[in-house]
């Protein structure tokens, strides 16, 4: 007897007991659909956080350097480590896009009659900004723009010489330029920052895209050379950011920079910390994996229960059809033919359950993906293939015992059954 015949027989038997077959299929399809939905939603969740992290800058390394040497007035006597860090990072320019101190400045900026001190703004009902919003003021190096996805459209960017010479210059973001200068060209104009004169040397292009069109504040910034702290006030920089070209290199760069800082900083005078958002991402991924395993475990249990259900039904089927098995054996069916018949039947029942489960699981993934992440999540191909194979394997696994039991029946005794 060949497999085609076994399939035909199995189909006849499944079709012949439609109600029972549907219930049996149900028990498998629920498990398969649950597994599929869980796995693909987990995959979607991972992709979603990956995307989020990329937007937040998963190619960024955060460095924190502190000094614990103080004078009697409470002033920090630590040295400025940035030039050394800057040179070191530039020697790794193959891997590193830029390095900059990270710091904010609390100051009043004004040009002519416009001053950040008395700007007022509000949002209308549709969320549009009305009025002028004060810009955020950043300290940075000449590589601030590299690290923050900014590029010059007018004038020039900050230069290392601006740092060394404490030049009173600044570069405006697109929105800040609009706030203070309207459509006029700001380059060469002199602004007052806490009363000090600062020359605008350049303007950055806008970072707005279609997706963040209402977040004009990301362009509302002014960047000053970090060394102008000496004029504008504030402590030495303690936080720095390195932008790595390839996020795969993050771990390597963290260890190299850490090694460099270890040699640079006297442990009696201070310390440092090097880390990245990727570590958070890894942590989140780990958590996600744990959640996935727990949910997957529950789904696996439901599959196991479904499988036991299959075994139960197949045992009932074998008992009910003892006489048929006897007849088949009497007219020449070998044991292997009987095994094949019941295995194929169990595999087919579960296979149908698998197909329905994959269909429902796909729908479930799409619906849940839309509801939870506003994303269209299609189950990965491997999940679909795995779910189908799993269901058939389940049928065969739990069909083995009933099938062998059927084949072991003695023809004489089987024929005597009612």
């Amino acid at each position: 007897m060949n497999l085609v015949q076994a399939f035909k027989m199995a189909w006849k038997s499944i079709w012949g007991k439609k109600g029972r077959s549907i219930l049996t299929i149900l028990s498998i399809f629920i498990g398969i659909a649950a597994v599929m939905t869980i796995v693909s939603v987990m995959e979607g969740m991972k992709a979603y956080t990956r995307e989020q992290n990329a937007a937040m800058g998963s190619n960024k390394i955060n460095i924190y350097i502190y000094s614990n040497v103080w004078d009697e007035h409470g002033n920090n006597l630590g040295k400025d480590y940035f030039p050394d860090l800057y040179n070191y990072c530039n020697s790794l320019s193959e891997y590193i896009d830029g390095v900059t101190p990270v710091g904010w400045l609390d100051a009043t900026v004004s040009y002519g009659t416009k001053t950040s001190a008395n700007m007022s703004y509000q949002w209308d009902e549709e969320g549009n900004l009305i009025g002028d919003r004060p810009p955020t003021l950043h300290y940075g190096s000449d590589q601030y723009s590299n690290c923050n996805n900014l590029s010059i459209v007018k004038g020039r960017d900050l230069a290392w010489l601006d740092m060394e010479n404490y030049n009173q210059v600044c570069v405006l973001g697109a929105q800040a330029a609009k706030v203070f200068f309207g459509s006029a060209d700001p380059v060469g104009k002199v602004m007052q920052v806490n009363g000090y004169n600062f020359e605008v040397v350049g303007v950055y292009g806008s970072r707005l895209t279609d997706e963040n069109a209402n977040q004009s504040q990301i362009d509302n910034l002014i960047v000053f050379p970090y060394t102008t702290r000496r004029i504008l006030g504030g402590q030495l920089p303690t936080e720095y950011q390195v932008t790595v070209k390839d996020s795969e290199m993050i771990t390597e760069m963290i260890s190299r920079i850490g090694g460099f800082l270890k040699g640079l900083i006297d442990r009696n005078q201070g310390g440092f910390d090097v880390s990245s958002n990727n570590q958070w991402q890894e942590y989140e991924n780990e958590q996600m994996t744990v959640i996935g395993l727990v949910l997957g475990g529950i789904a696996a249990i439901s599959l196991l229960v479904g499988g036991i259900g299959i075994m139960n039904i197949m045992l009932v089927t074998v008992t009910e059809r003892t006489r048929e098995i006897g007849i088949r054996r009497a007219i020449g069916a070998q044991r292997s033919s009987i095994v094949a018949q019941f295995l194929v039947e169990a595999g087919m029942l579960c296979g149908i359950g698998g197909v329905v489960g994959v269909a429902v699981g796909t729908a479930g993934s799409i619906i849940l993906g839309k509801a939870m992440f506003q994303m269209t999540i299609y189950p990965p191909l491997w999940v679909t293939v795995a779910a189908l194979s799993l269901s058939v394997a389940l049928g065969i696994l739990f069909g083995v015992y009933p099938a062998i039991k059927a084949s072991r029946l003695q023809p004489v005794e089987a024929l005597r059954a009612e």
Binding site: M1, K12, I327, R328, R329, I331, G332, A333, Q334
Partner: protein, 235 residues
């Protein structure tokens, strides 16, 4: 001088619960030889061992002791697979309760032994239809057994038994569930098959039916108490 028989039982025992108080000797030292082309009726009361004898002869059961030589082969030495092959190719079974598979059509039932022979679908269908034609049910091939009368079902069973053209036909009370007219019809088929060369072994408790056989073997308590050949009018 007789040739070695087609079927030969040598001192065959079938004992259940051997050695216990409830021991039953269904066959108690049976020796018999049946030649090709014979028409044998095995007669006896219920419990005489005739069904056990048919099970042994039909390779459905293995004797506890003694040898069963079928066509020169000792059945006791055969594997389950080889026994299946013998049941499939050498023997056609006809049962009292027809033993058709209810959810298969008439044609599919008749095709079943051919499926287990691995015959391809086109030839199989042709052979099955030939067999159905011989029992006069070719045009009802699509019916389910439950849609037919007992006599018709038994004719389907006969078609299934002869579809593989086996040299031996074993019929266990084939008329037991039928009225006398359809019973005679079934007997007629068996006689026709015998005339064409098939060896027929007919198990029955009915002396009237047995009287139509050329040879009668009478069993009681697992032993042969009579074995005689008689003239019949249908040859």
């Amino acid at each position: 001088m007789r040739m070695a028989g087609l079927i030969e039982l040598r001192n065959v025992y079938k004992i259940y619960a051997e050695g216990l108080e409830s021991e039953v000797r269904a066959l108690d030292g049976v020796s018999v030889t049946i030649d090709r082309g014979e028409f044998v009726a095995v007669v006896g009361q219920s419990g005489s061992g005739k069904s056990t004898m048919m099970n042994v002869l039909g390779c459905l059961d293995i004797p506890t002791y003694g040898d069963y030589i079928l066509n020169g082969t000792d059945v006791r030495e055969l594997t389950d697979q080889e026994l299946s092959r013998i049941r499939n190719k050498e023997i056609g079974f006809i049962f009292q309760q027809y033993n058709l598979i209810q959810n298969l059509s008439v044609l599919e039932n008749v095709e079943l032994p051919l499926i287990y022979q691995g015959i391809d679908p086109i030839d199989r269908r042709e052979m099955a239809m030939d067999a159905l034609d011989r029992v006069g049910l070719a045009e009802r091939y699509r019916h389910k057994p439950t849609q037919m009368s007992g006599g018709q079902q038994q004719r389907v069973a006969i078609a299934r038994a002869i579809a593989t053209h086996p040299p031996i036909i074993m019929a266990d009370e084939p008329t037991g569930a039928l009225d006398s007219r359809t019973g005679l019809e079934v007997l007629g088929f068996l006689q026709q098959l015998n005339r064409e060369g098939s060896t027929i072994i007919l198990i029955t408790h009915d002396n009237g039916i047995a009287a139509t056989a050329r040879r009668i073997i009478r069993l009681a308590d697992g032993r042969i108490i009579e074995d005689r050949v008689q003239e019949v009018d249908w040859l």
